[in-house]
Symmetry: C2
Subunit: 82 residues, 2 copies
């Protein structure tokens, strides 16, 4: 069994209104040390694969077919055996 952690976030050049709104808010309420905030989505996926290469193959396909909108999102994932 493998656990994949998938991170999706707005592509470079695509606005991150949620991140900008949070950044403005935290500055207003006194968090002066926060330099930047980027928001994204996070998935934990448990995969029943024979080896890590197969798990990576499944995850790449899952991200590109289901989890990620390639027009406005970039993604990365980490896989560990559990």
């Amino acid at each position: 069994m493998f656990l994949a952690r998938v991170f999706t976030f707005p592509r470079t050049g695509v606005l991150d209104p949620q991140g900008s709104a949070i950044k403005a808010t935290v500055s207003n309420i006194g968090f002066k040390d926060i330099q930047d905030i980027q928001t994204g989505k996070y998935y934990e996926v448990r995969i029943n694969a024979c080896d890590v290469a197969k798990a990576k193959e499944i995850m790449k396909e899952l991200c590109e077919k289901v989890l990620v909108n390639p027009v406005v999102e970039d993604y990365k994932f980490e896989i560990m055996e559990v």
Copy 2:
């Protein structure tokens, strides 16, 4: 400068409709090896702090005051120097 990676996800016992919907979809389109999918939110926060202890203190306060809804969400964060 420190980079914090914040993960928020539905508290145990709180329904994760998005995760359930994705899980049903991936099973229907042929991903038979996916055992479970949990969805959440992800933030990358850059903090200008004097040391990691101070960065952790700021992040804990930021999570509990702004980023996380404690009624329905759990959270964890990782901090690294960049």
